[in-house]
């Protein structure tokens, strides 16, 4: 049984349905990516999983149905969502942002140790722990957002466009850290990304979303070698 099993997911906002009949699964300890053009429904899918978008259909996490639950309840199950635009608390300090990541955790001491671990992954955040998050550079803000997600010690980490707005150099740095997190700590990742080249290099499995439907799925390698995908998403002919 997979950690996350999505079946016939329909999601949207108010009367607008963005995602129709999407099914996919994520195995524990794996890195799965959802590819697709702008407007394909990638972000909405993630938002449906974390409970902030309207969702119907079946979403089973660790065998339990979470579709239609509130975001607060879903976070408590161990799903952290690093949203599009990073979602930092700009006026709060780096350290306070990280503490908020562990908001629902009851084990204060372990959470403090996890903060140290985050600082090991992202040494630049340690230097800036007393600074307001809004004053960080774009790359640091993305690192903070990922670290905030990790502070939940999530069973599943949802990442929405971690490379957005970052220089190629910083993007590579961020992805290297993500790879470490996935491989060494065994954190399960579900990554939505425009930069397919980059994410296919370390993902295990990929789904391709088009106008709200899954049109293709396979191992990252298969998808990376698919003619159509190469043409549409990898900028190669």
């Amino acid at each position: 049984m997979s950690l996350l099993e999505v079946e016939g997911l329909e999601a949207g906002y108010g009367p607008v349905t963005v995602v129709r009949d999407v099914s996919f699964s994520v195995d524990e300890g794996k890195v799965v990516t959802i590819l697709g053009a702008n407007g394909a429904g990638k972000t909405t899918t993630l938002r449906a999983l974390s409970g902030v978008a309207r969702a119907s259909g079946s979403v089973r996490f660790d065998g339990r149905e979470i579709s239609g639950r509130s975001p607060e309840a879903i976070v408590r199950r161990g799903i952290a969502h690093v949203p599009e635009g990073r979602g930092n608390f700009a006026s709060l300090t780096v350290e306070e942002n990280l503490r908020l990541g562990a908001y629902v955790r009851k084990d204060g001491k372990a959470a403090r140790e996890d903060m140290e671990r985050c600082f090991e992954h992202f040494p630049r955040l340690r230097e800036r722990r007393e600074q307001a998050a809004g004053n960080l550079s774009g790359g640091e803000q993305q690192m903070l957002a990922i670290a905030r997600g990790l502070m939940l010690r999530p069973r599943l980490l949802l990442l929405d466009e971690p490379s957005h707005g970052l220089s190629p150099l910083i993007t590579r740095e961020v992805f290297k850290i993500l790879e470490t997190i996935a491989r060494e700590e065994g954190t399960t990742l579900l990554v939505v990304e425009q930069n397919a080249n980059l994410v296919l290099r370390f993902a295990d499995h990929a789904y391709v979303l088009e106008t709200g439907r899954v049109v293709l799925d396979g191992s990252a390698e298969e998808i990376g070698n698919d003619e159509g995908v190469r043409r549409s998403y990898l900028g190669m002919v």
Partner: protein, 293 residues
């Protein structure tokens, strides 16, 4: 010189009342972007509750504590029942809802307790203290002390507790707050409760200086708006310091500027509001609205 110092201290005292109500306004504005025009009336209602409890034979201390606790609950109910249904509507809608609440609470208090003036019992000692050769009224010093205690407790709440962190998180980014598991609705309710409680403190502090009637807080609200505007509408520190400046400006202008006297002091906050908006719209400590492209 002695008179000047007395006026300044009295100004700081009355300014502490303005600061307290301004603090209530700022707490709500920071977390919801709503300017609650009914804040003063809610405080007046709280003050009436304290008065009614005293009238029914309860000791003053107990009556005050009960009124503060009831205000907290009342503030939460206002958020849940009146504000939540219009959450996310445009500014004008919300403005009209808070004005409606103003009228509702004002008339409600008149309906329950009547429209006549009542004497509100003094909780603070009378008389005056001799500080370095200047006679200062205990009442003024007491009001200042109460405000400082309120500010101290708020600081501890916001900086040292998990609830305070959650409240600041909701003010900074409600969408992300939900994603980390904060119940935004519950947090906003607590914020409104807290604001109502602080407003109630302002009400019971000012009531003994004036007479208690349904229009107790009308004037105070204008001064508190001036204080919040001067301090910066999203800055609690600004609300308190703004309150002091407004209070001192009011007492000094009333005494030293002939034509203002005691009748035209309301001009002081209005001129200050106008001046701040013209010269420095974000106030002394407010953050400018930053829009990142």
């Amino acid at each position: 010189m002695e008179r000047f110092v007395q006026l300044v201290v009295d100004g700081v005292a009355i300014g502490s009342v303005y600061g307290a109500l301004a603090l209530a306004l700022v707490l709500i504005f920071r977390s919801t972007g709503i300017v609650n025009f009914a804040q003063g009336e809610m405080a007046m209602f709280s003050t009436f509750i304290a008065w009614a409890l005293v009238e029914s034979g309860q000791p003053l201390g107990l009556a005050l504590l009960a009124a503060l606790a009831l205000s907290f609950v009342g503030g939460m109910l206002v958020e849940r029942l009146v504000i939540r249904p219009v959450e996310g509507e445009d500014q004008l809608t919300i403005l009209i809802v808070t004005l409606g609440l103003f009228i509702l609470v004002n008339s409600g208090a008149g309906w329950i307790w009547g429209f006549e003036n009542r004497a509100f019992p003094r909780a603070l000692p009378g008389g005056s203290a001799d500080v370095a050769g200047v006679r200062l009224s205990w009442e003024s010093l007491g009001i200042l002390a109460v405000l400082l205690v309120v500010v101290g407790l708020l600081f501890l709440l916001f900086q040292r507790t998990k609830l305070g962190l959650a409240m600041r998180a909701v003010a900074a980014n409600p969408a992300s707050s939900r994603l980390v598991g904060i119940s935004v609705g519950r947090t906003l309710m607590i914020g409104w409760g807290l604001a109502a409680l602080i407003g109630a403190v302002a009400g019971v502090l000012v009531a003994p200086l004036l007479f208690l009637d349904v229009n107790l807080m009308g004037g105070v609200l204008v001064y508190s708006f001036a204080a919040a505007t001067l301090g910066g509408f999203d800055s609690p520190k600004g609300a308190v310091i703004g309150g002091w400046i407004i209070g001192v400006a009011e007492t000094l202008a009333g005494s030293y500027i002939g034509f203002i006297g005691s009748d035209l002091t309301i001009l002081v906050p209005l001129v200050i509001i106008l001046g701040v908006l013209l010269v420095r719209p974000t106030g002394l400590y407010g953050s400018p609205e930053v829009v990142r492209a």
